[in-house]
């Protein structure tokens, strides 16, 4: 027997998932001036960050697995959103990889970019099983999901929101570092695509965590236990460290991390301890 969803928010959501699905953004390659990137390759450290972002954006299936083994899979509106969310992130990852390939190829004088051809499409991000679970595999999550009930959906929405904000910080840093108009345009395009994801997660977090103390409690626990950012398991330790140094290192990085922490702390039902743990858990952050 399944309990009735008594922790579901009373007021209806404003975000139109059907409209979002109907207007999903596919390939972004038509918006990329890859020839300009080939003519003026990006700095290697920037290319490395873009490559890391591509991996992170592409690592949707591992996250979906963790989410769908719980009651979240029963909420058809949420699953409809996640199906399109995964689709859009796939193409964001593809756009980033195209820029990486062309730039790297132009730098070395090899590869599709320098030969004037389009870099190949890349398939999804593969993540090794144990790492993708963050220590909690599907069986464990499925068992936990049995007792968590509907409140777990709020927790998953909180994870999605925090991840979006983390990557948003990274994209802002990329834009600050960029001297390439092409990269600026690409980042702006990607950020525009992701805006709807963030808006959906924000609304769901507000609705669900406000309506249910249990959802808020599960969200606090989930945020504390998640390996950040989502998909970090697909990066090597060196890649994670380099990514975190770039996005969150230095005085400007400190300010961004403080802002992230403050934002997490201000979510419904969230506490300072959770926000602090998430801040400390930013993978590969610069040594204290």
């Amino acid at each position: 027997m399944t309990r009735s969803p008594s922790t579901e928010p009373a007021e209806p959501a404003e975000f139109d998932v059907r409209a979002f699905a109907r207007t999903a953004h596919g390939s972004l390659r038509d918006d990329l001036d890859l020839e300009a990137v080939a003519a003026s390759p990006l700095a290697p450290d920037l290319v490395a960050v873009l490559a890391a972002l591509a991996t992170l954006e592409g690592a949707t299936m591992a996250h979906l697995r963790n989410v769908l083994v719980t009651n979240t899979h029963k909420d058809a509106r949420v699953t409809a959103f996640l199906v399109t969310w995964a689709f859009e992130k796939f193409w964001i990852a593809d756009a980033l990889r195209a820029i990486v390939d062309v730039s790297a190829g132009a730098s070395t004088g090899q590869g599709a970019g320098s030969a004037g051809g389009e870099p190949p499409l890349h398939t999804g991000t593969a993540v090794s099983g144990g790492a993708a679970s963050g220590g909690r595999g599907p069986v464990r999550r499925a068992f936990a999901g049995i007792t968590q009930g509907w409140a777990v959906i709020g927790a998953h929405m909180a994870v999605g929101l925090v991840d979006d904000r983390m990557l948003g910080t990274a994209y802002a840093r990329v834009a600050e570092s960029s001297t390439s108009a092409t990269l600026d345009a690409a980042v702006a395009r990607i950020v525009a695509v992701k805006e709807r994801h963030t808006r959906f997660f924000e609304e769901e977090v507000q609705r669900r965590l406000t309506a249910s103390p249990r959802a808020a409690r599960l969200a606090r626990r989930e945020l504390r236990r998640t390996a950040w950012p989502l998909g970090a398991a697909a990066l090597t330790a060196e890649q994670r460290a380099a990514f975190s140094r770039f996005a969150y290192g230095g005085p400007e990085g400190d300010a961004r991390v403080v802002e992230l922490e403050r934002g997490i702390g201000s979510l419904p039902g969230m506490d300072a301890r959770t926000a602090a743990i998430v801040r400390r858990g930013l993978a590969g952050r610069r040594a204290a």
């Binding site: 399944t2 699905a21 999903a24 899979h73 199906v83 593969a126 499925a142």
Partner: protein
């Protein structure tokens, strides 16, 4: 020929029906028996994300090509559900998020245990379990194409036929992926062949059986697969399945129809 995942992802689109006159169903509605079948089909399409859940708990999810395919497949199947729901809506049958949620809620404990069962089996069998999933997926997608084709033939409704033709065309690419994956994995491992043969012959049931009542399954199979033409269609699917390495002689679709009492 190997499946070109890059081409598939580059050309994956949601099925479109903007140019089809669905309003025509108001004046020329489908009969109740057909609507019951369409509703079944919509439920199956919308449930893809839940089937994905079971797939993702096994070693399948670790492979980049499989991950890419599932991303596109999920979206395409979702839109198949939307298309069929649009036809149902013309008959004042609502299949919206609340209705789907209610259906998923009714599945109860079996639904909660499925991913656990899949994950445990995947761990026990190992990488060869992926062959089971791919073969199972191939069988399901072949069945789906056959169902849509049979429905189009039986109804003789031009708008419905065109819509189902478009859906079936997309399903054909799903078949191509699953089949190429299954063939490769089965050819590489006799253990995979044995496990897959065992799983299909003992446990496969028509797609949708796990989320619908036996009465609904029987209705749909009887509607679409009765008589000599239905059996011929079933035989073709079985020939495709049994043509894969290690699966010679399997007749899982015809066996399922016999078990349901669908007249030949």
């Amino acid at each position: 020929m190997a499946f070109d995942i890059d081409r598939y992802t580059a050309t994956s689109v949601s099925v479109n029906w903007d140019d089809l006159d669905l309003e025509g169903f108001r004046d020329d509605p489908l009969p109740p028996a057909s609507l019951r079948t369409l509703r079944y089909m919509a439920d199956v399409e919308y449930h893809t994300v839940c089937y994905t859940r079971d797939l993702l708990t096994t070693p399948s999810h670790r492979e980049a090509d499989v991950s890419a395919f599932m991303t596109m497949w999920n979206r395409e199947e979702f839109w198949h559900g939307e298309a069929l729901a649009a036809v149902l809506a013309m008959h004042d049958i609502t299949v919206d998020y609340d209705v789907l949620k209610a259906s998923r809620l009714k599945l109860g404990w079996k639904d909660r245990l499925d991913p656990i069962k899949q994950s445990v089996l995947g761990s026990l069998v190992g990488a060869d379990f992926v062959a089971v999933h791919m073969s199972w997926g191939a069988a399901n997608e072949w069945s789906a194409i056959t169902a849509y084709q049979r429905m189009a033939e039986l109804e003789e409704h031009p708008v419905l036929a065109e819509l189902l033709r478009r859906i079936a065309k997309q399903e054909a690419r799903h078949v191509a992926f699953y089949t190429s994956q299954a063939r490769e994995r089965l050819a590489a491992s006799t253990k995979a062949q044995k496990v897959t043969r065992f799983a299909l012959s003992r446990f496969w049931a028509p797609v949708g059986s796990s989320i619908n009542s036996t009465e609904d399954v029987r209705h749909v199979m009887t509607h679409l697969m009765s008589g000599p033409e239905g059996r011929r269609a079933a035989r073709k699917v079985d020939e495709s399945i049994s043509g894969m390495p290690g699966l010679q002689g399997l007749t899982i679709v015809q066996d399922a129809l016999d078990e349901l009492g669908v007249p030949a």
